[in-house]
Symmetry: C2
Subunit: 195 residues, 2 copies
């Protein structure tokens, strides 16, 4: 979803500045499945403003730098709904954690253990944060998002906790045969390209 639509979506829930829109992606409601940087938010707001999809009110603040508060227009609201009706593009998931884990045999065991422990902490903290909020207080669509997301984190945590020890033991046993460290993974696909 393009940043312009993302801005409209945040503004649908109440007027906000560029800084506050960024927060919605960093910590707020959209943080688990969308993101945008200042470098794309500010230009997007400028274009939305010139197209009449949002209105800007310059708030000359007492002490802090000027705050530009953006508000959705009726046209902007209609445009948001239309964008939501378009067929969704496939999810995009990019993870260094999975990428590094994939090559676990090539890395020092302590490094891998650290990676897993950090991941377990990440899942625990995320679950704690998400269970702060009472699902019953959420609108229907938002509640399903919340429930599905929470399920993913909870089951990921369970899986890692259940398999961590076995996994580490297996890696340790492989480290005991030093000559195999480097060749383990290569063996798998060696004869793929025999044309």
């Amino acid at each position: 979803m393009d940043v312009r639509t993302l801005c409209l979506a945040v503004l649908y829930q109440g007027e906000a500045s560029g800084y506050e829109i960024k927060k919605a992606f960093k910590e707020g409601a959209f943080s688990h499945f969308q993101d945008a940087s200042f470098g794309s938010i500010y230009p997007a707001l400028g274009r939305l403003s010139s197209e009449g999809l949002v209105e800007c009110t310059q708030m000359a603040q007492e002490k802090r730098p000027d705050k530009k508060v953006y508000k959705l227009t009726q046209n902007g609201e209609d445009t948001l709904i239309t964008s939501l009706l378009a067929p969704p593009t496939p999810d995009r998931f990019t993870s260094d954690f999975f990428f590094i884990l994939y090559f676990a045999e090539l890395l020092p065991l302590l490094q891998v253990i650290k990676l897993l422990d950090q991941r377990i902490s990440f899942y625990q903290e995320t679950i704690n944060r998400m269970t702060q909020c009472d699902p019953a207080s959420l609108p229907t669509g938002r509640r399903l998002c919340h429930g599905l997301g929470l399920t993913v984190y909870q089951n990921s945590l369970i899986y890692l906790e259940e398999n961590k020890e076995r996994f580490i033991a297996e890696l340790r046993s492989q480290h005991e045969i030093p000559s195999s460290i480097d060749t383990n993974l290569k063996q798998i696909d060696t004869n793929r390209h025999t044309s």
Copy 2:
């Protein structure tokens, strides 16, 4: 993870052309947690080649266009390992599905049902594809990736199947009061910005 490292990772498993590297992200081993386009793969291979991290062999093919087969050098292998030791950047997950679902109240009910059904099919197909492969045949790290990923898809499917009907019934009941269609979500955060 930058595209250069991703190319080294694919080449670690066997020599490959740019086209074959792209396939590793589209359908192959890395498809669930990494991606790269031709527009970044080809320049990356050129740079890796000039830096001596990969070697290129031009295969003058009989009928098809020339194939440039890239192979990892020792230097490239070392560079890959070093990159894997760097602290992982946070995951990035971007989903139109979650984004649209979040605003379910604003959309025609049939549209939402279609969205959920497509999602359920997507999970089912992904699980089917992933269960084709025998986990026991995979190296340790790769097996944990596979297991954790599969768990996520399976539990997402279960959650959606268990909650779909209740969710749709709830949306339907809200549609019966037409005046509420537009205001449901707005009510939540209306008095946040009362300064």
